[in-house]
Symmetry: C2
Subunit: 168 residues, 2 copies
């Protein structure tokens, strides 16, 4: 068994956001994929330990901000490293509220979803969700997970306290 | 609503294979993602109409061949266009049987899976599956779905009878 074979799977890099009451929060996610075209449906996998997980469970709604290659590594670190439990992750981030959900202004595009079903695993929940809205935002080239690892990782300052690869 | 926003999601290009009795069969899939690290678990979305769908339902096992950028467009057409119901898709394809499942020799890496759970939608089943084995194969750069659309589509002969973009 050579687990590095799994590194050949391709992903994007996204910020999945939801609301903690009136407070927007979010986390980095790589595991998101469209499931059906009609109606447009997506599946996203979120770790039970992510604060955002509980917010999605409670509200049944989340947004997906698709990150561009030009996103600041510190923005990825902000959403990927710190916990939304103790931090207002959107503080200092350029974002807008759309239909009650936060989306990053720097996203190439964003989508809003309503949870319709879920499947549990030991560590992650796979949320199945119906598309409520989808819009082009800042445009640009969507970042892939391999681009993030190969290009961004090398350029980001290792001393940056918020810098860390996003959790898979 | 601008559904083209969904095109900014990133995917790989894979051949998902299973067995129809003693006969190997498979189809093109883009929607595959790792869900948990321990134990290694993957989710893959397969259309109900795909012949491979029924074979996975019956056998509870499938393989994932990760396609390289250098894969012949005709190979993608072979698995993406024709139905395994009426065609031996692996005829003329360089493949090997590993633990009873077919994998493409040209794959960068391949993984073998056992289904542990599933979630239904109107058109697709999301199979949750435990990793049985993972191995590096021919290596090379894994093909992304956007590479396939931007690079391969332009180069493939439009007259090729088997050529067609893989179904999402």
């Amino acid at each position: 068994m050579d687990l590095s074979a799994l590194f050949d799977l391709s992903y994007g890099v996204y910020v999945v956001s939801s609301m903690d009451g009136d407070r927007p929060t979010g986390c980095i996610a790589n595991s998101a994929m469209q499931i059906t075209a009609e109606p447009p449906t997506l599946a996203v996998s979120i770790n039970h330990d992510n604060f955002t997980h509980g917010c999605i469970e409670k509200t049944g709604r989340f947004s997906l901000s698709i990150l561009p290659e030009t996103i600041a590594p510190l923005t990825i670190g902000r959403f990927g490293f710190r916990s939304g439990r103790d931090n207002d992750k959107f503080d200092g981030v350029d974002y807008q509220m759309v239909d009650g959900l936060p989306v990053l202004s720097e996203s190439t595009s964003y989508c809003l979803f309503e949870v319709t079903d879920k499947m549990e695993t030991e560590t992650h929940t796979i949320f199945l969700a119906r598309l409520l809205d989808a819009q082009k935002a800042a445009g640009g080239k969507p970042m892939t997970y391999s681009y993030y690892h190969q290009v961004i990782k090398g350029k980001a300052p290792k001393t940056a306290p918020t810098y860390q690869p996003p959790a898979k």
